[in-house]
Symmetry: C2
Subunit: 341 residues, 2 copies
DNA sequence: CTGTTAGCGCTTTCAA
DNA sequence: TTGAAAGCGCTAACAG
């Protein structure tokens, strides 16, 4: 059992500190600190000795202490409604990757757990003293907003393009997307359109714009149904059933999100309705599966990865000391016409 | 604009500290601390004054400082491969909810970002001094394991039931699940079975057991194909195509995960194969969509939520000072026979 | 029930 | 290139 080097925690059970390492390497504590954080300030000879001491002791820096004195935690916290929402995964992957490359750690906080109030949650997050925050939706509580403003913390709000960002905004116009969805259906000549929508603020913005465009064009909106979040395929199936009950002659359904569209596809199939011949189906989000359903789903693509990258870039610029330049970046969206419309 | 009370950060731009609050409330710092952390030790009269001072100043505690001295961060970090994997969402929601109820904050760390080495990642996580860790898969690096062991940190490994846990293990036997999947197909009389599998260690464990059971029963495994992670529906569609090329007479396909099975369903449909008549399809995971595909997908259900609850319970017990009782909890699994087999 | 003292582990600042 | 002193903001331990 001597092939793995012995662990050497401290002689007692005490956790190893910078001073312990310093003593072993016969240097001062600050030198050890420099080897870890600013190695270019230390001679290679000394650094080597220190690194060996770190390895032998299994020293792991205490960022609580480091962050307390330096006022930098190298921590970025991102709020996501829940990890169940596939919309944000690409954003988070790219955000995390880019931040990690700059030695910042991204940690995710689920914001839509039961009994969580927004301003309490923000306080809990701020109490960790992150260097920056990423929000996947804008704050609705004024006090929470003020906390961030007061602190001058770098913040990126994302997946939206509302009027009044705290500091930076990376997203797209949900209203424009909703209108584009309507126009697409209009172009394809659909006449009796049903709307299947999730009870979510952003989805609601898309729905309104969509409905307005449809009405302006004089097209009948035969039926509308709302489903609770978090949505699943189940709501898509049940939703189509409800819609068809309200108006059996629907020739198309627009869905607030691909998950619903997928359910609609399944329900249509179960009822022997041919898509797109008997029923056109349009989704939103371009989730991975959308390109591989049968028939393949027409949808709206949002560049989730790019949102993450832009957020990271802004944050990194801010963290390098740049002034809080207010940024509003529209990443746009793209209507993907596949086989379901 | 005077309906929202004025913010009052510090007179200067300095962030508000405990001492500031104490001065305003005319009490000592420790009393403010008590109002926040152990309110039962403070008279209601004093507490009231303090709370009002907190509210007026917008004070947000600094947990870096608090954690440094108290050696408790009230932070639990969970490692998830990536937020893209729906298997863990229920686990994380329930874990987070239960921990929050006990005043612990759960933060998620993505462990499968590019350029992330396991032991480096663990060190980065440990440097935040969390009070506990939850792993969605066991550590493979011996040094990382040792770090945790040495630190005596409460740790739950989950979604597995391997031989040698660091401390606690909540999961199920992937081998048993694989065998059960095979037996199910056998019971239904399938004769030429294809295996579509993702390149993932746990999936591989299930595949082996599945294959073994099939072979023991003397059933032909006509074809096998592996797909890279992260898997998507796309791999399911392409996978069935490859499988059918290898053996056009396949009468069933077992998939390592529901996402693949969903793709197989779509591809079968696109080719005019009727499920389950022409082709039986079995998935794993019982993701939300599985019950709502057409036909509904037979699969293996794992109680993801319960894993999170059990993990939380163990951690909470440990954090209340209990000895590191080694726990191995088998949550089992359930074969859900729906319409695709 | 409230306060005083000391110090957690680290980095900043200044000096050599 | 290295080090000494000071202190970040908070809570444990003890005293009153």
């Amino acid at each position: 059992m001597s092939d793995t080097p012995p662990p050497i925690p401290d002689a007692a059970g005490r956790t190893v500190t910078l001073d312990d390492v310093a003593r072993i390497a016969k240097v001062s504590a600050i030198t050890v600190s420099r080897v870890i954080n600013r190695p270019h300030l230390v001679s290679e000879r000394t650094a080597k000795r220190v690194r060996s001491a770190i390895a032998r002791t299994g020293y792991v820096p205490n960022l609580l202490a480091g962050g307390l004195v330096s006022q930098r935690s190298r921590l970025v916290i991102a709020l996501v409604p829940s990890v169940a929402n596939p919309a944000f995964t690409e954003t988070m992957t790219h955000l995390g990757t880019r931040l990690a490359a700059a030695r910042y750690q991204l940690l995710l906080c689920q914001s839509e757990l039961p009994h969580q109030e927004e301003s309490t949650l923000i306080d809990a997050v701020l109490s960790r003293r992150p260097d920056a925050l990423v929000l996947t939706k804008p704050l609705s509580t004024p006090t929470a907003r003020q906390r961030l403003l007061a602190r001058g913390l770098p913040v990126v709000e994302s997946w939206e393009l509302n009027a009044d960002p705290i500091e930076a905004l990376v997203g797209f116009s949900h209203a424009a997307a909703g209108a584009a969805m309507a126009r697409h259906m209009l172009d394809h000549g659909y006449q009796r359109i049903g709307l299947l929508w999730s009870e979510d603020q952003r989805a609601e913005t898309r729905r309104r714009a969509c409905l307005e465009t449809l009405i302006e064009a004089g097209v009948a909106v035969g039926a509308q149904a709302a489903v609770p979040v978090p949505v699943g395929m189940r709501h898509g199936r049940e939703g189509l059933a409800r819609l068809l009950e309200m108006d059996p002659r629907l020739d198309a359904v627009i869905c607030s999100i691909d998950l619903l569209a997928q359910g609609v596809l399944a329900e249509a199939q179960a009822r022997g309705l041919r898509v797109p011949h008997d029923l056109g189906v349009l989704g939103f989000g371009d989730f991975e599966f959308a390109a591989h359903t049968h028939p393949r789903l027409s949808t709206v693509r949002v560049d989730s990865a790019r949102i993450g990258e832009l957020a990271a870039d802004h944050l990194l610029r801010r963290l390098e000391g740049d002034k809080p330049t207010s940024l509003v970046h529209d990443v746009g969206f793209e209507l993907l016409v596949r086989e379901s419309t």
